[in-house]
Amino acid sequence: MNRVEKRINELKKKKEKGLGFFLMGNWPDKDTFIEILRFIDSKNLADFLQIGVPFSDPVADGPIIRKASAQALYKGATLEKILKNLLSVREEISIPLILKTYANPLYVSGIGEMLSLAKESGISAIIIPDMPLEEISLVEEQARKNKIGVLLFAGPTTSEKRLVKISSKTSFFLSYTASHETSSLEFEKVLALSEKPVYSDFGKLSPEQAGAIAHSLDGIIMGWALTEIIDDSEKNFFKEIEKFAISIRKEIKEI
């Protein structure tokens, strides 16, 4: 079974809340990226990871990911190079991986070719911030062929009718772009409407906020939290990542 799907189902069965983090691919450099990946995997610090592909014009991202994206591009990172880097450690890593890319790098590099390489590299799902429900058919066929799930977003501006459609179309779970201001009432509504588990997808939350949101939903994904830690700490960000992830885990798993 698809690794992401399996993990989401296990969590659901155990009634445990899930935790995912975003990492920019091949950043801060190619080798350190792999070290971070290995570290998170070996210490079991998350249930899955989103691996980002840098883009020249990341309209859906805030300043921290934009900076990492520009740095990764500067060092020559591309979708293909990131996937090949992942391929080189595929056998050693068991954490489920989701590829997060803007539409254009995937489209221009060749959807079929890239998704087939993604599969080889251990990617189990893909999420494309600028490809909403209306356009997702562009990748669906190739994703199906390669047994890669296609995840979709919903958010506070999504209407109820639309949310139902999105939740039936998304593979495995729904990424909900909530903020710490989103009320628990709203989460309850989303959860009730959604056919699939709902994960909040938000840049960074404090352990308390994460706990509160996880209480209402099936889990959380943090966008730029680790990127900020890696960017901020001069040397031992491994320790900082561990500390942060454990503090979040503690809050969300204790519910």
Binding site: F55, D57, Y107, P132
Partner: protein, 376 residues
């Protein structure tokens, strides 16, 4: 199957989910208002009494003599605020007002769309913020002052090359924060559906007027291309007149359709200047309004069917045309429009050719640039 918002294989709605509901509502409002007598009447009144339409179609004796063809200039430079951008700004701002929005945001390159938006906002009592790349603010100082004079807030954008592409990114981000209350007044025929169609609708007045004004059917329509709105406005009403040739002139350093490849950017599948792995390339042009890596999806479609052709000229052709028109016709064209004029001046023509050039705007904003470039 014809998909909504697609022109052939181009167009679509490639935006984050946050904006989808806003686009759905926008589309609904646009298609109902555009048919409503209340909107139509008020828009017509504003175009006529406020913006000064119809703009003249001027027979340029000197350009005709130079090219040995008949050359007409569609004088968008004479409309209020000095460019065609006012047509679209008034249309969208009026719709924003009629749908109860209080705030508009806009991006601008040359500052002409920013000024037009700020003007429409002042007239219709809307709040207005304009995103502008820092480099463009430097190049178009006069327009920055005008926007502020009109009561708009000008927000500098420092990312990347700090030109039009980055200004669009910033506007899209801002819109995502509050799509329910903000109307994004996009300034060209680009972006996700329904923008290309909406801007085309508002700019088509250019071509409709030309049809009535021109003494006999034109053989060629020529316009400069940034995102493609003045060109689309001129071309579209002639689209069924197969014998009328349509030529879009880009700047060589930002020639997305004549030198680029299809991709997905700023909401649409369209021609883009990009590298082999889909990263958008920086662009360069002496004309800030042309300095953009993308182009409207309808143009990509017209290219694919061969209905329109697209080519490009460099800074020097534009600067030459700029000076020539000023000295010979007493008209100072915008550097953007000068690309279209420059191409016509350099091309060879037959005496039976009847050319209409869209003089999309006036060049007062470009005084510093042309001085720097030794034209004065």
């Amino acid at each position: 199957m014809v998909r909504k918002g697609y022109f052939g294989g181009f167009g679509g709605q490639f935006v984050p989910e946050t904006l989808m509901e806003a686009l759905v509502i926008l589309e609904k409002n646009f298609s109902s208002l555009i048919k409503s007598p209340g909107f139509k009447e008020e828009f017509q009144r504003l175009l006529a009494d406020y913006a000064g339409r119809p703009t003249p179609l001027y027979y340029s004796e000197k350009l005709s003599k130079l090219t040995k063809a008949e050359v007409f200039l569609k004088r968008e430079d004479l409309s209020h605020t000095g460019s065609h951008k006012i047509n679209n700004a008034l249309g969208q701002a009026l719709m924003a007002k009629m749908t109860g929005k209080r705030k508009i945001i806009a991006e601008t390159g040359a500052g002409q769309h920013g000024v037009a938006s700020a003007t429409a906002a002042a007239l219709l009592d809307l709040e207005c913020s304009v995103f502008m790349g820092r480099e463009d603010m430097r190049r178009q100082v006069e327009n920055v002052v005008r926007m502020k004079m009109l009561g708009a807030e000008v927000l500098p954008v420092d990312e990347g090359d700090a030109t039009l592409k980055e200004a669009v990114n910033a506007a899209l981000r801002k819109w995502s924060e509050d799509p329910e209350n903000i109307w994004y007044l996009l300034g060209s025929c680009v972006g996700p559906h329904p923008y290309p169609e909406m801007v085309r609708e508002f700019q088509s007045v250019i071509g409709r007027e030309v049809k009535k004004q021109v003494p006999a059917k034109p053989t060629h329509l020529v316009a400069c291309i940034g995102g493609g709105s003045n060109s689309m406005g001129l071309f579209y009403p002639f689209i069924e007149d197969r014998e009328v040739k349509m030529i879009g002139v880009e700047a060589t350093g930002s020639a997305s359709i004549s030198r680029g490849q299809p991709g997905i950017f700023h909401g649409a599948k369209t021609y883009l200047l990009q590298d082999k792995v889909g990263q958008i390339s920086p662009t360069y042009s002496v004309a800030p309004g042309l300095d953009y890596s993308g182009i409207g999806p309808v143009h990509s479609f017209l290219k694919s069917t061969g209905r329109a052709i697209y080519l490009n000229v460099g800074d020097s052709s534009a600067l030459k045309a700029f000076s020539w028109l000023a000295k010979n016709e007493g008209i100072i064209p915008a550097l953007e429009s000068s690309h279209a004029i420059g191409w016509v001046m350099e091309n060879s023509w037959k005496s039976s050719d009847r050319i209409v050039i869209c003089l999309s705007g006036r060049g007062e904003k470009d005084m510093e640039t042309v001085t720097e470039r030794g034209q004065v």
